[in-house]
């Protein structure tokens, strides 16, 4: 058991954004969370990483670092790429004196190569394309060798080849570190390549849970609508508050 969520509830104003959600992710397992825009996927990740306070329920994670790759990269725009990636190594109290500057340089280079980038250490985030920013933020998140990894749409906005690169890396990282991972995504390729299991959220509740291949069988009305991207089905757009 590495991430366990029990009866989780989160309310914004008078809207229950997360409504009694429970699931488990074992070590070495990747769970994909899918669902409409606004269904509460990012909120779940923020609750697990401790950025938001839950209203009730339980979240149990194993000891060690939690990493998060943000939906909109969230790179530090006053720092260059190298300092972004090395941020935790420079600023965290328990890591600050652990590595020399040369070692940090080497780590940064390594992490950049892992996400298919090279020689951009001195550039600033504003000088990168959206996809490059995403990959740098990926490198920044994993620099502390975390054992719980949360990805918020890691492949959104990437070209198919860069997506595959990231997807392969998500799998590789999981195998190497035996981390428990959660991937929020809209992309079928990311689900099938990285996830062991899928949960689908709608209106703050889990409406489907199963394997990616089961999901493609379309024997559930919700997944059928999602996979076929249909306007007809149990899920209605036009929600609002």
């Amino acid at each position: 058991m590495s991430i366990e969520v029990k009866n989780l509830v989160k309310v914004f104003g008078d809207k229950k954004v997360i409504d009694d959600v429970s699931f488990k992710v074992n070590d070495g397992e990747t769970l994909a969370i899918v669902g409409f825009s606004g269904s509460g996927k990012s909120t779940i990740l923020k609750l697990i990483s401790g950025l938001l306070e839950k209203d009730s329920g339980e979240i149990i994670t194993s000891k060690g670092d939690i990493a998060m790759v943000f939906q909109y990269s969230a790179l530090f725009d006053s720092l260059n790429v190298a300092d972004n990636i090395a941020f935790a190594l420079h600023e965290r109290r328990d890591l600050r004196k652990k590595f020399t500057e040369d070692e940090i340089k080497e780590i940064v280079k390594q992490k950049l190569e892992l996400v298919g980038l090279k020689g951009i250490e001195k550039l600033f985030p504003s000088e990168l394309s959206g996809g490059m920013q995403k990959r740098v933020s990926f490198a920044r998140a994993i620099v502390t060798e975390p054992n719980t990894i949360l990805y918020d749409e890691p492949t959104a906005g990437l070209d198919p080849i860069s997506s595959t690169l990231i997807e392969n890396y998500i799998v590789r990282l999981k195998e190497e570190t035996n981390a428990a991972s959660i991937v929020v995504t809209h992309q079928m390729s990311t689900i099938t390549r990285t996830a062991d299991r899928v949960v689908m959220l709608y209106n703050g509740k889990i409406v489907y849970e199963g394997t990616p291949s089961d999901m493609l069988k379309q024997d559930n009305e919700y997944t059928k609508q999602f996979v076929t991207a249909s306007l007809e089905g149990p899920m209605k757009m036009m929600e609002g508050n």
Partner: protein, 269 residues
């Protein structure tokens, strides 16, 4: 009941009272957040581990980049005051008191208050918008997930730089102000430099200087803390950044005036 409630909610009385309540709530809320940040800041300072490079960068931003504007404002204020009163005082036979009056005025109040205003509009606003932008683009969330304390990373170097640099800015501003007063008195009223500085020297006591520097320390720290805090609690996109910046400027202005009053009462009565 339903309709009654509806009409009640449209009534001017209801709007005025909820408006007053919201304003009051916001005031207490902001004050609470600033205080809380202040306490976290002190805790972070006690823990130590200050990033020297960042501190030096913030100091140069706070002290050096604001200097041209600060000196212009303080110098102009002295020129205006001296040009208004110098000739009149000479005519009335009070020429020997011009230097004294100018030096007391500048050292006790003008230098530190005007520097404060200049710093708020230049540095406070930029600190607030910078941190607010980090908030709305989730950079502060990223800092937290990487297990770095945002208060010690963002607040400590900025507030320390305010505390360290503001006294220097004030000293330089006071010197420029007194000098500008001398030049102006000479040009407008033909008062000799000698007469001006002899009397200026009589007017200032050590206590004036110390109180002024102590004020500068408080002003600098307060401006930086308020600006950081207002940025830190920004929410909701570009508009939120704008609101946070305005709030930082308004709160800093009010705060230093309140400090100034407290100091005046505590040291000169």
């Amino acid at each position: 009941m339903g309709t009654l409630q509806k009409y009640f909610k449209q009534s001017a009385t209801y709007k005025i009272f909820t408006g007053v309540y919201d304003t009051f709530y916001d005031f207490v809320d902001t004050l609470g957040k600033i205080t809380q940040n202040g306490i976290q800041l002190i805790k972070a300072l006690i823990k130590g581990g200050i990033d020297r490079k960042e501190l030096i960068y913030q100091c140069s931003r706070f002290g050096v980049s604001s200097l041209p504007i600060t000196l212009t404002i303080v110098g102009m204020t002295s020129v205006i005051v001296a040009s208004q009163v110098a000739l009149e005082m000479v005519k009335q036979g009070g020429g020997n008191f011009i230097g004294m009056m100018m030096s007391i005025l500048i050292v006790r109040e003008v230098a530190v208050i005007m520097s404060g205003f200049a710093i708020i509009s230049m540095i406070g606003s930029s600190i607030a918008s910078e941190i607010a932008t980090m908030r709305v683009t989730e950079q502060i969330d990223a800092i937290r997930v990487l297990k770095v304390d945002p208060v010690s990373y963002l607040f400590v170097p900025r507030v320390l730089s305010g505390i360290i640099m503001m006294p220097f800015v004030t000293i330089i501003a006071a010197a420029v102000g007194v000098l500008a007063g001398a030049v102006t008195s000479d040009l407008f009223a033909g008062l000799s430099y000698r007469a001006y500085f002899d009397s200026a020297w009589l007017g200032i006591y050590m206590k004036d200087l110390w109180v002024s520097l102590l004020k500068a320390v408080f002003f600098g720290g307060t401006i930086a803390l308020i600006s950081c805090s207002c940025g830190y609690y920004a929410s909701g996109g570009a508009k939120g950044v704008g609101l946070a910046t305005t709030k930082a400027v308004v709160w800093s202005f009010v705060a230093i005036v309140v400090w100034d009053m407290i100091f005046a009462v505590a040291f000169f009565f």
